[in-house]
Chain length 309, copies 2
């Protein structure tokens, strides 16, 4: 039995040393060199081609190379009873917390406005409220959301979280479900989207939702591009209702040349770098997951197909 | 007896309500309307004119409206035995920690490079080490330095501090005195200057010091412009030895139009806004200091004239 690795070819060079060191008895196959499909026991994947996983009759587990699994669940032929496991990597959470804290502080301290003043050679102090009057709303509150909240809390920002099913978090005002979404948005001066992409969250940041944010709010999307209706976001920036946006993810990546987001003065664009899976940190988690799945032991991060994450 | 307030005239409008509310029995005079110099008991000042304080024969205390006192000690006629008190304001420390964390994360996550890529419409992932391999060095470790270290520590950055006289701080590698300055600089991938400006620290970030920083280091100055020898900094940026600088303070403020710092691609300029004294937060501290000085009770922040802070 073998383990199939499927990502871009240049990634295998980084993954091979730690994975083979951690799983010394295993045979790895690099997609598309799958060999006998019946010999594949586990698949470690990123954006697998439609039908690939269905072609493996003895598959016992699918492991995502990232925190999201939407790229796996999007395959309508995905075998229904094979566990799909998202990557719960503290290194991803740490990077995400860096990126989100940077983006939150940049909006809070009006870094974009000061950069514009610097370009114009203008020396002028701009008004800004203190942290205790800048409310941060975090959509999605798993490992990544918790890490962001932990870094933001010492600054004194009032924190809120929005989740699908009611949960609690110390020092964070939690909202749950569609019925509390409007109340959550209304107290989010800076909105951070960390949601999984599911049919229920696709396009969730649309004109109606953005209109519910306080006037002057900023939006940070580090989840999936499809969470945001870009035309609605641009309209809310144009109208002045939103003061800015920081976007690391886009429905189509790379972001197309000439796309209006590239050059919008109120938008910061980065090339999906908020949290990059690092083989040195993630390979031990993936190796441990494979060993647990094989031994029938409990595994963290197994996806609930109904919820989609 | 009366209290003299000396700052720019427009600041008094913000200070008058909280100060008069907190010190209801006191008479305030707004410089230059000093009245009888012999009637002034305390002076609350920002950049007082040379000779002003020496003209007040019954002065019992000088209170700075900011964290620094270099603007007071620079007056050679300053009466030698009057206590000078710097403002120890947790609100200043909180703002400074926001600004420094933002600047540190911006250098750490290469925000300037990504902004340049955005301007050019370039989608490319840039290399960056994890936080555990990015060493932060903080020069000056009083209330402000401690607040910055407390916010940076949860990210996992290795932290070092440099002070005049040996002190300890949990989780921070401390260096002291000129004999340990080189060792401190050598382990500062991102250097944060929070020093008081004194004859011993004037021009401390000169060519020799900057050369001791690791290759690719970044410099953040939020103390006083005169700590940095700007021509040396520009040379170190030009040579590629330094990767960037964030400067909030300048020897002459406002920064002169056309100054090369305004438009240097590796330099972020802000108009001395890292930590702005807010009357609502600082007035209670100033009122308490006046009451303590008058009662002969202990006062925090009394300046050691020999050390200069």
């Amino acid at each position: 039995m073998a383990i199939l690795f499927q990502s871009s070819a240049d990634r295998w060079a980084d993954w091979q040393p730690p994975l083979t060191a951690l799983l010394p008895g295993e045979e790895f196959r690099l997609h598309p060199g799958t060999g006998d499909p019946a010999s594949i026991e586990f698949a470690v994947v990123w954006k697998p081609p439609i039908g690939l996983l269905a072609s493996l009759p003895n598959l016992k587990g699918v492991l995502s190379l990232g925190a999201g699994v939407d790229h796996i669940l999007a395959d309508p032929t995905l075998p229904p009873n094979v566990p799909v496991v998202r990557l719960l990597d503290p290194s991803l959470a740490a990077q995400m917390a860096e990126y989100v804290t940077l983006a939150v502080l940049a909006h809070h301290r009006r870094r974009g406005d000061y950069a514009a003043q610097q370009r114009d050679g203008v020396w002028r102090v701009l008004d800004a409220p203190g942290a205790t009057r800048r409310r941060i709303g975090i959509m999605g509150f798993g490992m990544l959301g918790e890490a962001c909240a932990a870094r933001l809390m010492p600054f004194g920002f009032p924190l809120a979280g929005w989740v699908r099913h009611a949960q609690t978090a110390e020092g964070v005002r939690m909202f749950a479900g569609t019925e509390q979404l409007a109340a959550f948005l209304a107290c989010s001066d800076i909105l951070v989207c960390l949601l999984p992409l599911t049919p229920a969250t696709h396009g969730i940041l649309n004109a109606r939702a953005l209109a519910l944010l306080p006037n002057g709010a900023a939006v940070i999307n580090v989840a999936r591009g499809a969470h945001v209706v870009v035309d609605d976001l641009l309209a809310a920036l144009e109208s002045g209702h939103l003061s800015g946006a920081t976007l690391d993810v886009f429905a189509d990546e790379p972001l197309a040349p000439g796309h209006p987001l590239w050059h919008h003065p109120k938008v910061t664009v980065t090339p999906h770098i908020a949290a990059i899976t690092r083989p040195a940190h993630a390979a031990p988690i993936i190796a441990d997951t494979i060993q647990r799945l094989r031994a029938g032991r409990p595994v963290a991060g197994v996806v609930n197909r109904h919820k989609g994450y």
